[in-house]
């Protein structure tokens, strides 16, 4: 197994190099790079512009700039953001915890919804519960998450007001906007405006809508996977054997069915987890959540290539690592899969 993991990790290196070349090339050719902001500045003479270009190293051909970027990356220097002039690693490091907080919470919520519903759906196949759950899973998969985020804001931030608003006391204001009413839930940011050290309760309130939005991203999909996997194992012979041994139904389901159904689910989770960053990009943009997705969005608007490169490469590394993790987890849980003899 160790040999296999090492081999896969070594294979990942050329893959990452090729990816970085492609992405670097594309960003370098994109218009609106770091120079365009300076070019609009009337106080800068053409000589100033040329000097700036030289300072930023943008007068070099693309391949030389790539080699310099790559040479620095290897020693841990990810360069500086063109917009803020701060180190890329600092910029990303500040926002990564916010993104992970959002993603981890949303992921736990997703599984807490999807796994029990998927199991129950399978155990009561063709019941009303199963039909409703399957339909809702279909709906959840088809709703564009960015639209879902906007709907959440309309309903919980614009329409519904806090019944115990600090200024009006206990009063529902029936879908109308009154100047004194506080919205039921905050529709953006991580804390109330101007508050530097929010309380736990304030943080939680600000997380509810974005987490709900992001949790929908996978809930439908995982419910359907879970149901499908349970149905696969539920009719197998060893289930009958377990029942014939006189085991309780609960034990049969948890110990025998669930354990076998979870193997492929864990693989799928590992494969799809990095995709959550994509969902987080929408969530963070809509809810002004100061995370990596929003950083990428703003950097893309400014074509801030050191930041764009940094974020894309982190994502590519995660995808490759989680792909490997999926294979290893599968082999670990399913003794029939062996890599070493290949």
């Amino acid at each position: 197994m160790t040999g296999y993991i090492v081999r896969r990790l070594l294979q990942a290196i050329p893959l990452l190099i090729v990816i970085s070349i492609i992405v670097f090339g594309m960003i370098s050719l994109a218009p609106g790079g770091p120079m365009s902001a300076f070019e609009e500045n009337p106080n800068l003479s053409p000589e100033d512009l040329a000097r700036l270009e030289e300072q930023l190293g943008l007068d070099q051909p693309v391949h030389e700039r790539y080699l310099r970027w790559a040479g620095r990356i290897v020693v841990g220097d990810w360069g500086y953001s063109n917009a803020s002039r701060r180190p890329v690693l600092t910029e990303i490091g500040e926002r990564l915890p916010n993104t992970l907080q959002l993603m981890a919470t949303a992921f736990v919520v997703t599984l807490l919804i999807a796994i029990p519903i998927g199991i129950l759906s399978a155990l009561r196949q063709y019941s009303i519960f199963d039909h409703v759950a399957t339909f809702l899973a279909f709906v959840g998969q088809a709703i564009p998450i960015f639209w879902f985020g906007l709907i959440l804001i309309i309903v919980f931030n614009v329409w519904l007001n806090n019944p115990v608003s600090p200024s009006t006391g206990f009063a529902f204001s029936n879908f109308t906007n009154c100047a004194d009413c506080a919205p039921l839930l905050p529709g953006g940011g991580m804390a109330p405006f101007g508050v530097d050290n929010p309380t736990f309760w304030q943080r939680l309130q600000h997380m509810i809508l974005p987490v709900t939005m992001l949790a929908l991203f996978g809930a439908g999909t995982y419910t359907r996977y879970m149901r499908g996997q349970m149905l696969e194992v539920i009719h197998l012979d060893y289930m009958r054997t377990a029942r014939a041994k006189g085991l309780s139904e609960g034990r049969v389901v948890t110990r025998h069915a669930l354990k076998n159904a979870m193997t492929p689910i864990i693989t799928i989770i590992a494969l799809e987890l990095p995709g959550l960053f994509g969902g987080a990009l929408f969530t963070e943009t809509i809810f002004s959540w100061p995370g990596m997705g929003r950083l990428f969005y703003r950097s893309a608007q400014r074509v801030d290539y050191p930041l764009l490169m940094g974020i894309v490469m982190i994502n590519a590394v995660l995808i490759i690592l989680f792909n490997l993790l999926a294979d290893v987890a599968y082999a670990y849980m399913d003794p029939r899969v062996r890599f070493d003899r290949r």
């Binding site: 990816i19 594309m26 564009p144 906007l150 804001i153």
Partner: protein, 288 residues
């Protein structure tokens, strides 16, 4: 055969509903220029930000344009992009998968490394970066209608990997069959065997995957346009109409955000159900 598929498909009630809804959306998008009394681009200062009413069933936008008219014009763009991007993705995926599966060995190895490369690209991030690049590409066909051609190109380029793996798998098992050996013995050229003899046998899973890919492409396009990196206004698409609605909905003008998303949702869920129905109908094990 065709009658049997249709009979099976009809049994899937939600797929039938999906087909009807999608047909309605397509019909509306095709006929909107004849049926609607409103111009999608012409603003009307008197009718700005009107909530849904009898004259404007889905309200008007910030420039007083009829939302419903614009949504069906947007449907033309969004549906066309979904179809063309899928066509491109499925074509690339089928060719790569077929060559890899049929020839095996080094060809297979190289093509699968290429597939791995594309799978490792973070999708939405790459879509955004590629759309940045497109801004500098001065090819008229890519830039027409707010950049529709360019979006089709990048969506297609990033969506073929699933189909490629699928087709490769099919080819790996099919190439051992007697009819392939027979064709080879007869001296038929490899390319002809691949595309004339083996490929038709893989049509079923490709059709199902392609159907679902249309839905995925429509979501990707609207997501990209929602972020402002997709099709550019004034060409309306469901995504960029949602983008324009972002500030408005916080002022309480909900219809500007609600209806564009509803169109995306209805299209995607209809296509997904159709795909589900097709999967059942085309499943040979269910044929009787």
């Amino acid at each position: 055969m065709r009658g049997m598929i249709w009979r099976q498909f009809r049994r899937h009630r939600m797929a039938l509903v999906g087909l009807l809804v999608l047909a309605g959306l397509v019909l509306g998008s095709v006929s909107v220029s004849v049926v609607s009394p409103y111009d999608p681009e012409k603003s009307s200062m008197r009718e700005r930000r009107e909530p849904p009413s009898l004259t404007h069933p889905m309200g008007t936008d910030t420039l007083g344009r009829d939302m419903m008219t614009r949504l069906f014009y947007g449907g033309r763009i969004s549906l066309t992009i979904g179809l063309l991007a899928t066509l491109l993705g499925v074509t690339i995926g089928t060719v790569i998968g077929a060559l890899a599966g049929y020839y095996g060995g080094t060809t297979d190895n190289l093509l699968m490394r290429l597939t791995d490369l594309f799978i490792s690209l973070p999708r939405i991030f790459m879509l955004i970066i590629m759309s940045l690049l497109l801004r500098s590409v001065e090819v008229p066909i890519l830039q027409a209608y707010g950049g529709v051609g360019g979006i089709v190109l990048i969506l297609g380029l990033l969506s073929w990997t699933g189909v490629a793996r699928l087709v490769r798998g099919q080819f790996l098992s099919l190439k051992e069959k007697e009819f392939v050996e027979a064709a080879q013995t007869l001296g038929i050229r490899n390319m002809r065997i691949v595309f004339r003899h083996v490929l038709p046998n893989t049509a079923t899973p490709i059709i199902v995957a392609a159907t679902l890919l249309v839905a995925g492409s429509i979501i990707s396009e609207s997501g990209l346009s929602f972020l402002g990196f997709g099709v550019q206004p004034p060409t309306p698409t469901w995504g960029n109409m949602l983008n324009a609605a972002q500030d408005e909905m916080r002022k309480g003008n909900w219809w500007m955000a609600f209806f564009p998303g509803l169109m995306i949702f209805l299209t995607v869920i209809s296509i997904n159900y159709i795909g589900d129905g097709l999967r059942d109908a085309l499943d040979p094990r269910k044929m009787r």
